[in-house]
Amino acid sequence: MTLTTTTPRGTVLDHLQDGVALRLPATVRVSGSGPLIPVGLDNGNGHTKLALLTAQGDLVTQAVPTVYRTAKEIRGGADITSYRVNDGTAFWAGAEALGQEGDSLPIGATSERLGDNRQRDFLAAALVEALIVAGYQPGIHNLAVGLAIPNDEIVLKRSGDGLGVARDTREAIKAALFGKTFTVLRTSSSGQKTSWTLTYSTILPQAQSIGTYLAWSRTPNGAAVDDGIEALSIVDIGTGDLQRTDVDVAPYRMTGEKLGKGTITMARQMAAQLGDLRLNDAQAMQALIARTVRDSGFRVDIGATVDAVIAAEGQDLVARLLPVLQQKSRYVLLTGGGVLLAGLRAAIEERAAAMGKAAPRNFAFVPDRHALTLNATGALLAVVYAAGGQS
């Protein structure tokens, strides 16, 4: 299946949709290094997304709520998986932390976020969980990490010859992660302790939306699918931001623009309506997607409230992306966690239909199953492609 026609294009996204193995190399070598495990990491405001490969080269993806909570002692019943990074404070992370009223880590530019040691520790914990799902055992793991960064942190180089990473971002990555080792002591819910030593042996920063572009336009071995596409706009409906990225194919060119806040506005409005529950940002985002919330210990359906908030607040977000849908020179690809909100997606489709636009001819949504994680998958692809297949 393909997004623009019914003829299979053989892209990475087509493979993922059809359940066909990518068969990418499970390790890469960079500049004469030993074997490194390639990883795609998209440290989003709402969720941190990871993509990596099993030893057999099969893709594994994870979306972990970017939530952190200092661990407390559980006096009875099932315990919670906890982490201690480089002998630091024990903490909970992700969905389990969310269930224990953990809060979102601060959002902002890469340089601000990586300056927070909780953020760095959280990333280490998330990497451990992803390695476990991919079948890796505790021990020493050297990583080649494709790091998806905000599109506006890829800028024109001062030398003028092409695009590169903004200076603040580059320096923050080097100070916080590049070449750094994080030793994670993981204590499972059953009390089993394992030790994981992770090194960011090399890092490849890449604009977030280019990850989606690579997965949409490349076959697994990195060849561009030549189906005549000349220009594309990617609309990424994220938690913190709504972003537009325009890609020209020949010659390659990328420009980007923030179109304002993302779905966090709707989440906060919903939290205000459910005032008694005192939902923090992380809980509100989760509730917006899941359409349920915990009230006095019981899980309650809040679908009607979610629909009403999206109907009211979602129109502002739709209005901000309308110009992208209205223009006629580019194909439009919509992605990000926002496409998981049924009401928002329906509103976009309705406005597009009113303009005479139809899917898949003029635009497409990245399928739900991949909308959250495709940027991370693309960051993984970038590592494998940039390493040139050396394994």
Partner: protein
């Protein structure tokens, strides 16, 4: 394959560890959703429990369980953990040369340059 017929919604209370297991299975196997994992777990689990129940159609149940349990038996044989009850029935496993997964395809020579075109590239110490 699930039985035909109308469906009824039932809620479950699961421990966190069980939820985590379901999420790992969702990531590792071609299920469409966590709900599908749990529904399949329930269907398979009911058949397993039925083996302990009186009055079941033993012959029909045995036919269904035989297929269902094949991956379990393979795991037990691989880990040399077959129960004593079955050990006496186990034929010596044939020697199979491990062929390993097929080699990944060669990366296109243009791929690295494409990544660079969009500002991507490995950080270098001296940059």
């Amino acid at each position: 394959m699930s039985p035909a017929g109308p469906r009824a919604n039932k809620s479950l209370r699961l421990a966190q560890e069980e939820l985590e297991r379901a999420q790992r299975l969702l990531a590792a196997l071609p299920y469409a959703s966590e709900a599908e994992v749990l529904a399949d777990a329930a269907r398979r689990g009911l058949l397993l429990i039925e083996a302990e129940a009186p009055g079941a159609d033993r012959a029909a149940l045995a036919r269904r369980l035989r297929t269902l349990l094949l991956p379990v038996f393979e795991l037990l044989v691989e880990q040399d953990a077959l129960p004593a009850l079955l050990a006496g029935y186990r034929a010596p496993a044939p020697r199979v040369e491990a062929s390993g997964p097929p080699a990944p395809p060669a990366i296109a020579p243009t791929a690295a340059g494409d990544v660079k075109s969009f500002g991507g590239g490995f950080l270098d110490d001296d940059e």
